[in-house]
Amino acid sequence: MSATTKSVRKLIASTSAIALVAAVLTVGSATTANAAPTTGGTLYMLTHADQWEHPDPQRLYVGRDIAFFNTYVYRNLVSYKPATGPNGATLIGDLATNTGVPSNNAKTWKFTLRAGITWEDGSAITCEDVKYGISRTYAQDVLTDGPTYAISMLDVPTLDDGSSAYKGPYKKTGQALFDKAITCSGNTVTFKLSRTVADFNYAMTYPAFSPIKKLKDTGDKYDLRPFASGPYKIDKNVIGDEMHLIRNTNWKKASDPIRTPYPDDIVVQFGLAEELRDQLILSDQVPNAVNLDALLPTNNKTFFADATKADQRMNVNDPYVRYYAMNLSATHMDCLEVRKAFFFALNTQALIDLAGGSVFYGAPGDSIMKPNLGPDYAPTTGNIHESFWSINGNPTKAKEFLDAAKTKCPAAYTRATSTGITMDLPNTATNQKGSVLIEDAMKAAGIVIKFNFIPSGVYYATVKDVTKQNDISSVGWGPDWANASTVIPELFIKGGGGNYTQTWNDPAYAAFKVKSDKASAETNRAKQIKMWQELGQTIMDNYWIGRPVFTKTQLVWGSKVAGVGFWDPQGTFLFPALYVKN
């Protein structure tokens, strides 16, 4: 799961969701299901948000929301197994009978549709529906925000300006080119890719590849009520109020190897004031509800300190890494010594305490990847493992690096000690307080630092703009699936979706790019893992990122909700297992 949209959403909602392969570090029990699940009842979901990110499958990019819609409303060709722990990352044919058959050095993929799969009106789901659905990704001006794997992977020519020659099903420009990339033969869908994509079937877990019935497509407004293919359909969806799901009578259990619909109704309560939402959970006034958000910090502490709530909470590692992106194209930060001085001067403990403490917020990390990402992560050397690294900051050592910069890169030194380094921060109360802590730590090391507070809603859009980004930006990232191919190229290769470090001017960049490209195309997973691990070390050796934090998230729910587990690949509740106790 790469992409700014996603990291924006999730990081702004702070620790609101999600983790990938979190089982290893899951603190709470992975599941509370010890009795047989019961059918019926109404399951409530509470959130402060006014709406889901996007109910429209082609526009949906947030793990929690993908898990929700994929479980209840619509189906993909391929889905993750509904299980906790590492098993949750297993792929299962959903609408397709299998998990895809690659050929031609993984440049051609074939999927065969099941028999008996239907829309909520009873009509059959066809290959044409799949093709039409994917074609909507190309209508980028109408359907904003979704992942664009289709555009980057499918064999449709690109124009000189880098955009696809196909402009989507509404304008129909370049329709013939698209029709060649996906072909239908009875129940078989064939994808032609422009390059080798060894993990193409993982991309298929994204609803962006799910079918759409053309007759039901309402363009922008499809987002209000997607046509159901799963066990529930949307009875009511009022933004800022609630979404109500009822059973889809045209869904057949026989056609679906994944889902068991337990509750009769699912009601998502939108727009709750944060304090009200928390109080509803704390007081257990709505015992059949799960909290889709994180509790407010003080309420979170209260809830986790209460022994009677032990069965209603979970504290797990989420898929995110928060870090300070060094703008390597800026004259302050192109100097390795200045970056090191910043890295070691930082008083990590104070910042973590401010954000909620190590129990709830997270701990210092040593890589851009996280242990729960899977084998692509390996512990690095240097950085936080240096003997002189201190969680409270080491101003003396930082000063040494700064002094070294004086001779090695005098321009950067002068700036860092006089005009000062400018850091971008989303404008939140926590960041306002944090900036004081950072300023104190830097002052102790002799670094002058200033802050540029940007409204939260436009933060990522602003810092992504190379002309607007300052020297250091506080950002975060989570992988799209358990492969560093959704992390390293996105963040450190020019053209990636989140290259906040503007790596391309760094002396180490050229070699890095060659190796990254090679890793992306490597079909041998063992070799690929080794390459990603080495690249991870390179990033840290060059101090392209400031001290990372491996963050955590907490899930809480009411006393009558059962079957709660953590769905690692989606980083949220294991929705398929949730049920309401009788």
Partner: protein, 333 residues
């Protein structure tokens, strides 16, 4: 009088046009690029430009503003071909975030805000004025001192605290209202009980702070008016204290409240941001605050700002006209 009203109306329209222009300019000057915000992972300039065009942001601020004005009268369309979106006049724009014409969004949110505002208005006027009258009538006595405490609490306690207190103790602790029913819209004419369930406590919260300041205001106005010569005249006529208070003192003491109450009410029609937030009411206040802080939804920000401004300006006009009926001195020369 008609001439005066029509003159004031045209002045009002001019002010609103000016406000709309200012709002446009302010948002044009902000650093964030709404088109860039719509861009996903493979964000390239080409996609941003396409979206900029579709959002209508690819022309100068003046042109955007002019389109907005024209749209108010002629309606607007967005996009093209099969993805065409139509918003009939009066079109305040289309929210790509909520997939709805802004006019419809506001029309949905307004009854909620109106309910809240009217309910709170009635509550705070009745509480504030009656308490103020009692305090003035029994100046220095227990009622007066009790009202002082009320005024002190009411004016110093911010709504977000009093709101949460009411919420916690009345709604959560004593369960007087099913919390899941909070914010549910009910038509006051067909379902008055449902309406009360939803709106009673929000109105009370909102009325609380206002009632306090109206109590103070009423009390001091009555005491001040009581020393007027014409009140002495009324007594000299032989009127009883009751009649003097009711007919002479109150009439003069409460006249200025029309102005303040009118403007306070107008302010609320633009949305009671905090109260709507606390009680889960999808009114204009919450709509606009979310549009600003969460979604950066320009058309909604624009429309709610204008909407709120309209109420203030129009209410000013209404207050002036009302005042003329109350106070003959401003009526005819």
């Amino acid at each position: 009088m008609l001439k005066y009203i029509s003159r004031r109306l045209s002045y009002t329209i001019f002010i609103l046009i000016l406000i709309s222009l200012v709002v446009f300019l302010i948002f044009a000057l902000l650093p964030a690029d709404p088109a860039a915000l719509t861009c996903g992972k493979t964000c390239n300039p080409q996609v941003i430009e396409a979206n900029r065009h579709r959002l209508g942001l690819d022309v100068s601020v003046w042109q955007q503003w002019w389109r907005f004005i024209v749209g108010l009268f002629q309606g607007r369309t967005y996009g093209e071909a099969e993805a065409l979106i139509k918003c009939p006049a009066p079109a305040f724009g289309y929210s790509f975030n909520r997939h709805e014409c802004v006019t419809k969004i506001i029309a949905d949110a307004f009854p909620i805000t109106l309910s809240l505002a009217i309910g709170a208005f009635i509550m705070w006027l009745s509480i504030g004025i009656s308490l103020g009258v009692l305090a003035a009538r029994f100046k220095g006595k227990f009622v007066d001192r009790a009202s002082t405490v009320f005024v002190l609490i009411g004016t110093s306690l911010p709504t977000f605290i009093s709101g949460i207190l009411i919420l916690l103790f009345v709604v959560i602790k004593f369960g007087l209202v099913n919390p899941l029913d909070l914010g549910n819209w009910a038509n006051p004419f067909t379902d008055p009980l449902g309406w009360l369930k939803t709106f009673f406590f929000p109105c009370l919260t909102l009325a609380f702070a206002y009632a306090a300041s109206y109590t103070r205001f009423t009390r001091s106005n009555i005491l001040e008016t009581s020393t007027e010569d014409y009140i002495r005249t009324a007594r000299a006529k032989g009127l009883s204290e009751k009649v003097v208070l009711r007919k002479h003192t109150l009439r003069a003491a409460l006249a200025p409240i029309v102005t303040i109450a009118g403007l306070d009410f107008a302010g609320l029609l633009g949305g009671a941001i905090i109260t709507e937030g606390i009680y889960n009411l999808a009114g204009l206040g919450r709509l606009s605050i979310r549009a600003v802080l969460v979604d950066y939804d320009l058309p909604i920000i624009l429309a709610t700002t204008l909407f709120a401004a309209t109420f203030v300006v129009v209410m000013n006009l209404i207050v002036d006209i009302l005042y003329a009926f109350i106070d003959p001195r401003v009526r005819v020369g």
